[in-house]
């Protein structure tokens, strides 16, 4: 039991990071505002968690201009997808044990 808990990915311990990854698992590119809207959090809060996911290279970033306004989109990388799936498997194991 304890061993399984230790295996849980620390990056996904935070609900917002978990949320961002959940959204990116079932969508292609998602822009910053859509993420903010879905998660109902502030710009600064979201930005800091995105940075953490980016540092792990779990997500990739695409910056472009739409109607002369900067628009940043995010997508889960293969590594991110793998890590998230592993995290889900461990969550499942823990729940089954209980």
């Amino acid at each position: 039991m304890e061993l399984q808990l230790n295996k849980l990915n620390k990056t996904f311990e935070n609900r917002i990071r978990l949320g961002v990854m959940s959204i990116l698992m079932v969508n292609d590119w998602v822009d910053f505002n859509s993420l903010k809207d879905l998660l109902k959090i502030t710009d600064g809060n979201l930005a800091s968690h995105i940075k953490a996911l980016e540092a792990e290279t779990y997500i990739e970033i695409n910056k472009q201009f739409i109607n002369k306004k900067p628009n940043t989109s995010y997508r889960a990388t293969l590594l991110g997808r793998k890590a998230f799936n592993e995290h889900l498997n461990i969550l499942e194991k823990i729940i089954k044990q209980k």
Binding site: G19, I23, S34, D37
Partner: protein, 212 residues
């Protein structure tokens, strides 16, 4: 049990980011009521047609054309139903504290409108070439296809609703002459049933949970 809450959260976000869950149950009920009014008017009009034409109460040639009147009736029902649907869904989205115009809602609308517009043209051709008896089967089947197509972007119940419309469309093609009854059943009664189902599944807002 934080793990179970994690899983719930994951599911919730996966669903909310890919499906439009603010579709209001009221909009289905509203559309159904309008369709029944429209069907009732058509039924009444068809029964009255001879006396109306002889009275020529609306004067001009185009407006006293019975086919034109029935098309107008159908179009009015469609416009009222669609605007009612958008209005109630916008209200529901506001109540849920989520945006209305998002990627899933856009995909829902586009995927719904493609078969609807194709079906609209097809029905127009049926009218132009005088195949009136096929209008009810065609409109029910195209509408059913539109619902099946759009169901990926909203509640699963939409898929079964669409399949029922397609089955009704097929039946109305077999039992021609009862078109107006099939039309009232498909666009009226089924909408009310679907709206009620949606209302009880999600209108209480359980699908949406705040993230703190």
């Amino acid at each position: 049990m934080t793990q179970i809450e994690d899983i719930k959260e994951i599911r919730n976000l996966m669903e909310r980011s890919t499906r439009f869950l603010s579709l209001s149950g009221f909009s289905g009920i509203f559309a159904g009521i309008f369709a029944l009014i429209g069907a009732f008017f058509a039924w009444w009009y068809i029964n009255q047609i001879d006396s109306i034409i002889s009275l020529n109460i609306w004067g001009t040639g185009l407006i006293s054309n019975p086919v034109f009147i029935l098309i107008l009736d159908g179009l009015l029902v469609f416009v009222f139903a669609l605007s009612g649907g958008i209005y109630f869904s916008m209200r529901k989205a506001k109540k849920q504290g989520v945006s209305f115009w998002t990627k899933p809602s856009k995909l829902l609308l586009i995927n719904f409108l493609i078969p609807i517009i194709s079906g609209g043209f097809f029905c127009l051709f049926l009218i132009i070439y005088g195949f009136y008896i096929m209008i009810v089967p065609a409109s029910l089947m195209f509408y059913g296809l539109a619902l099946v197509n759009a169901s990926k972007y909203t509640f699963n119940a939409t898929l079964y609703f669409g399949i029922c419309e397609i089955i009704l469309g097929i039946l109305s093609g077999i039992f021609v002459g009862y078109g107006i009854w099939f039309w009232a059943l498909g666009f009226g009664v089924l909408h009310i049933v679907y709206g009620t189902v949606i209302y009880f599944i999600k209108d209480n807002g359980t699908a949406i949970k705040q993230i703190e």
